[in-house]
Amino acid sequence: MTSAFLSPVVASGLAIPLEWVVGLGLALFAVGLLGVACRRNILIMLLSVEIMLNASNLVLVGFSRVHSEISGQVFVFFSMVVAAAEVAVGLAIVIALYRLRRSADVDDAHDLHDVDYGPVPGLKLEGEPHHHHDHDEPEAQPVGATGEA
């Protein structure tokens, strides 16, 4: 059902091939992905995540129309709620981080990295004869192997 208000301008949404819609969603998703992968500014990384979310919303709407199923649009609604929540928490983290670091660069914050204890110390291997003192020697031998006299 095409809205009467728009009917002079647009025909049914069904005229748009679904693969084009999905293709556009994929392209937007790729842009967002590369943004997350390449940028270091935490704000722009968050924005890129929003782009990816929007790409998936577009695909949901497209499928909703083709299958004539309103649930797809309801899911877009939920997705927006999640996005809003994510942005709220994400930006709170950004503020907290900025207070701590005075920087918006994610690479400046790597505190999850464990403490570097330096190189692993070598094992003292058991049973190496030169590690034993003389009085330890008999214990390393089978009984009577040395003292047959």
Partner: protein, 680 residues
Amino acid sequence: MDGAFLTFLAAKGEPTLINTGFASWAAWVILFAPLLVAFLVTAVPAIRKANGLAAALSISSVGLGLVLTLFVYFFPMLQAGDNVYEHIVSWVAIGDSPLITFGTRMDALAVTMTLVVTGVGFAIFVYALGYMKGDESMGRFYGKFALFVFSMLGIVMSPNFFQTFIFWELVGVSSYLLIGYYWRKHSAGEAAKKAFMTNRVGDFGFLLGILMVWAAVGDATGAFGQDVYSAFDFTVIERAVQTLGASTLFWDSIGYAAIAAALVFCGAMGKSAQFPLHVWLPDAMEGPTPVSALMHAATMVAAGVYMIIRCNFIIAYAEWAPTLICWLGGITAFIAASMAITQNDIKKVLAYSTLSQLGYMTMALGAGAYTAAMFHLTTHAFFKALLFLCAGSVIHGCHHEQDMRHMGGLKSKMPTTYKTWFVGTIALTALLPIAGWWSKDEILGATRITDMVWGSEILLALGVLVAGMTAFYMWRATYMTFGGEYRGHAKPHESPKVMTMPLVALAFFSLFIGFIGIPDGTFGAGTKTNWFEGWLHHWHVGPYAKMVWPLAIIATGVALVGFLIARKIYRNAGGNDPLPAKLGGIWRLWDNLYYVDNFYLWLVKKVQQGVAKVFWFFERWILIQAVINGLSQTVRISGDRVRRVQSGRLGNYVTSFLLGAAVVGLLVLLQVGLASAGGK
């Protein structure tokens, strides 16, 4: 579980199995009374510390056993025919069919052996009262003594192989405890260990043999399931062998039956100290003399011979196994007799003598004359116990002097001991027709007629030769101990009554026990030849030995020659033994016990230690160094490398996430792609 009552007719001689009545419950009492005493003495310090009470309890437990056994023996139903009193309960079961049973079995053989064990045991128990007098830990001694008797009775009454094995090991433990009774003495501890370990060698073979028999019989019992019996039970094994025949039953592969029989014999080889596992028995002299007497007469060494008689049906038709057994017996008889010639310790002479006599019995076992072996076992139990107790009396009288070179002239100083020793020596050397004369000649006769053994003629000659050697070393010991002048430094005195009374009793039995085997006039092969064989005919295999008078005369003549040589050499020899100079190299060979101990020592030092070194190397370098340390080092190093993945940088995590998602996507794509390609 009490569903074990049933009547069962065995194929041979049709003995009736009866599970009720006096004999069935008496057996439990006879068996467990000594254990109860052993437990009380061990667990209650008050009894252990009160030496007299512990001794009284032990003696009465064995005495009770003797009395009950006599009742069982004269119980009319056992006397009439071939009845077997068997009372078994299922111990371990799989579903409804028993895997292992436990019980008592009283038949003619078991009653005979029980009489020997409790009878001779009773005499020795009483004797020990005098011998151990003044020993502060006499309570401990009697506790172990009772345990020893319990273990032996368990073997005697055992209705199955599994129970036999349990008590077999208990005998081993008891002997270990008793040989090492004077544990403060280093040599006693060593001897106890040696006895235990040597027996372990034999027991290992025994266990393998039991399992081989069990496997074969268990396969076959589907054909005639006995719902209260397991495949360990002698009744079932005997039935299986007789119904299906040893060759078909143990058919699996060529030699299975013979290997199984030989492995079962391994157990007897250890307990009855047959060559090459004989080395422990002389060392076992480290125990108190009553222990030696009990061990050599009634309990431990008799167990092997008894066990073979008990399961003769798997030995008798097992291809080359009888030959092996017979030859090992002959070799043992000969080398033990030769080693006995060189001993100066009075107990060691008797120890090697026991070995030699056990060799005779084993010869009889190989020759299929199981009743003859049992006969010799019975007579030997009496006169060997007598001789050991006499030796104990001598040692006691000479203040713990055991070397015969420091004795002499005890004939007048210890008259009762001398007279009883004389009886025992005659019985052992078979100069007069008492005890040993009858039983040994029956064994020689059986060796002559047997068709189960390859080269039995050689063994017969060897047996006759050993008779001469026996006479020689026994009379050598007699002359050195009792003849001439006293050469020691103590003041020898006759032993107290409590010691001499058992000697007299045993001498009495030694005089007359042989007459149960007097030929009853029917000398032809194929029929029983005397009362004893008639009593135990169920255990006889093959033709009965004729009483061959020429053979008996020859053997007696050879023994007489041995006696005369000993008389000539030792009558006036004093403390000097002229024999080493005369025999030279042979003497050294005998004196060094054929270097068997040296060989074992060499084996342990070189071969076992060599193997141990290989394992040591393996353990130290390959197992610990390469595997354990190598593994831990690998984990450490790789952990250090992998640790760097946790960089804490967001970019790296995003990268890992994308990579993982891409791989999952790729996999899904491949799956779907394959599916769509297949669907098209």
